[in-house]
Amino acid sequence: MSRRPLRTKSGHELTAEDIAQLAQEAEAGYDLAHAQRRRVGRPALGESGPSPRVNLRMDPVAYGRLREQADLADTSISAVARGLLEAASATDASAAPTQTVDRAPTAMAPQHGSLAHEFARAVLLDLRESGSWPSSDVLHRQIARTLGRDADVSALLRSIPPVYGYAGHGGPSDSASLTIEGLVECAQDTAAEELKNFIIALRRMVEIDDEADDDTTAHFDDAELSKLVADPRARQVTCLLLRGEGLLGSGSYSREGEGWRFEIVDLVRRIGLVSGPEAYLARRRLVTSQDPSTSLGAPDWSAVQAGDSGRLSDEQGRLLQVFSRTVARHFHDHAEWPKSKPVYRRLGRELGRDVDVYRVARAIPAEYGYAGDGTREQIASVSVLSLWRFAKDILTDEFHAFLRAVNLMVARDDAASERTHAEITSDELATLTEGMASHKKLELLLDREWLFGSTIGSEGGVTHEVADLVHRIGPVATIDAYLERRRSALEPPVVEGPQPPPAQLDAAVRALGRTESLMRTVARSPASLQTILDAGSIAQMVASLSAAQRFAESISQLALPLVAAYRQTDQMVAFYQQAAQMAALLPRMEIFDDMVAARAAVQQVVGSPAFAASGILGSQLSVLSDAIARSTGMLVPALGGLGDLRLGVSDVAAGWRRLLEAEERLMPAPIAPALLVTGGRGVLGVNLAAGAGASVQLDVGEDVPAWEGAPLEMRGALLERLREIDDVLPAKLEGAWERTLRPGPDAASQAANSLVELLDWSLRRATEGVDLVAWHAQQGLRSDGVDANGRPTRALKVRYLLRDNPSGDLVEAFARIIGEAYGALQSVKHGGRPGDPVVIQRLIPTIEAALTFVLVR
């Protein structure tokens, strides 16, 4: 018997070759960033087309009876209700129960409160029914039916405060969502079940996090949740609410059949055990507040003078004891500083749930230690001051070796001629480490105390430069003597006149100088680029920027209390003391000139043809960019209250921006996403991110040479051109910036949506009325100009708009940039989990640059 040939929906008869090719294609994989999403799985109930959904509210008692009926009949509530409604509508429409209108739709005032309630109710009902957030167009239609034809639903829904939720733009691909605050404020009675499940799940997550090892990441999985919430639909809803609140980190599906598994994020620990929704909201507001006065359990360090370790309060002593001993144990056992994250976890356990570890740890003064930012990317370290005071029993051998090393280095410094640097090798240090398994610990301690100037790799070993601080400390007999000598050596001068700067600033300046030197060498010898500018050398640059970061910490420690004291005129004594310390640091602000010089050298390197050809350093440059952003991010808050000092900081950020702009122009094909992201950190990205964090308005055009203002002028031209094309386009761009600068639970997706619309609309409107397909055929361009449905692609629109541009390669490069950026945005927009607004923010300048190239004449 012959089989009927297989025909696809379009009528194509499938051959064995077709199927083999399709299988091969599927095995290679698809880029789903551009794929359309289609909801499936709910077939129509009859033959007469799609089944409209009916949402109705019920009295709780009647709802309970309905549920009982459904249970008895072993069916769903929907099925029972459907049967009743069908029966009622089929017999006699006039016999239908009189409808009780509890709110006249047209009479409903478009007031904020009632609208928010309506919004919350509609989203919640849909969420319960489908187990997913409703699409924005469905929600808009539902609300429109309630409010009547005269209401501008889109405008009204845009007025819903983001803390309540997100109504979307009204499109089918956009989802609406609700926050817990929205549920509590607008639908608490209706959402009692959902809120209860949310709190139950959150409490369990806190317990799991408590039970996890310091070194492992805690996970929350389907099996755990199913013990708490039996109904599968309710479990889905609980997951969506947890995800919407940002309490679930990255997740994956277990192959062992245990269901999905998500990482428990740090915010869960910080929120801790809460009794109910209101307690959750209160705690969440506290831990995410930027206001230091709301800190939970954070000791006040402002009263502790630098080096005055004898006057610690019980609270401070307890914190430093736990912190120092945690770090010391790891240091002793592993010969390295621990990652920041496990240290935070240990602090959280020891200090209790009433303490917001993330704020407490970050406030530890630099002279006692550095706890990092709570991630695995940063390390925590402790000064000898804290180690000696709180962990001397753990590091006995290390302290003996440390003393021997300091004295040897002092002797070496004394013996060196005045014109040469004193140095000491790792092999020499190794001879002092009696009783220790590795001399690495000794080197880490010396480095942590700023006793090394720089580390120089040489044949057969490592040589350390002896820092000037060693000379000032001199020979010491005990750790106490060392600490006393070090404190006095670092004590800021209070007498007038030029004073030697603190040693750590010297070290920071020297480190930057080395980076500058390295990069100038590379710039002079592009041929050796591949061997010199490798990951290791970039890591060295990052390390030198870390030195600048430590400088920033010093500034921060001094400037913040200074500003606080200045605002309280009754603390003038403290003000003068702080001001004297600050004055000692000010001459070293020229460090930023070194950074700008180093950046200029980097710019030369990146501009060289060899670099453009390599195209392999995107991720490393990204690391470097992060280091600069971190340094700037620390400095701007520190200097926020001292307006005149901000200029140097904005200069650094502006310099880095120019460097990355240069890199974008030289970007080799194919464009790696990492490079796109790196590039996005350019135009205004660093400035705005840092400025937003400090509530400081950084005007990059202020007091800068005219050529530095050129990028701003170019951006102005883009906005003007967009406005010419369509009045709404500049708002799309500004809207994307606004959403990333004021992040909410769905900020990344909303910003991505604005940018997708910007790209789509601007290209479409700019080519309106042009028969692109005919032009494509006439030009004989490559096949990707038209899609499978015969519609012009974005790449074709770019080619058309740049048809007079003689730089063929650049035209293709920008067509690809727009394609890559569009794909990245689509994946965030439809990503199904919260994206990172910072990533989107860093992508915006790339889109601005591409649109400038394509649209501006």
Partner: protein
């Protein structure tokens, strides 16, 4: 798995393909909870022809999580 996968990804065919129908990619789990990726074509009679099925690869993780939220619960 296709029965309870609530979200399907329609990907356009590559420019040089001989079959011009959208590729339908389903991401979900089989009865044992094993995550799968399944590619199918829609035929003229409305049926689906499964071309490819294998354990889900990491490249589809984001879309898989997106599809999870839409899964049709029996």
């Amino acid at each position: 798995m296709i029965g309870h996968c609530g979200l399907v990804f329609n990907d356009e065919p590559p420019p040089d393909a001989s079959v011009f129908d959208d590729r339908l990619l389903f991401l979900g789990d089989d009865g044992q909870g094993v995550p799968l990726e399944v590619m199918a074509l829609e035929l003229d009679d409305g049926e689906l022809l499964v071309i490819h099925a294998m354990k889900r690869r990491p490249r589809y993780e984001t879309q898989y999580i997106e599809a999870l939220a839409c899964r049709v619960v029996p």
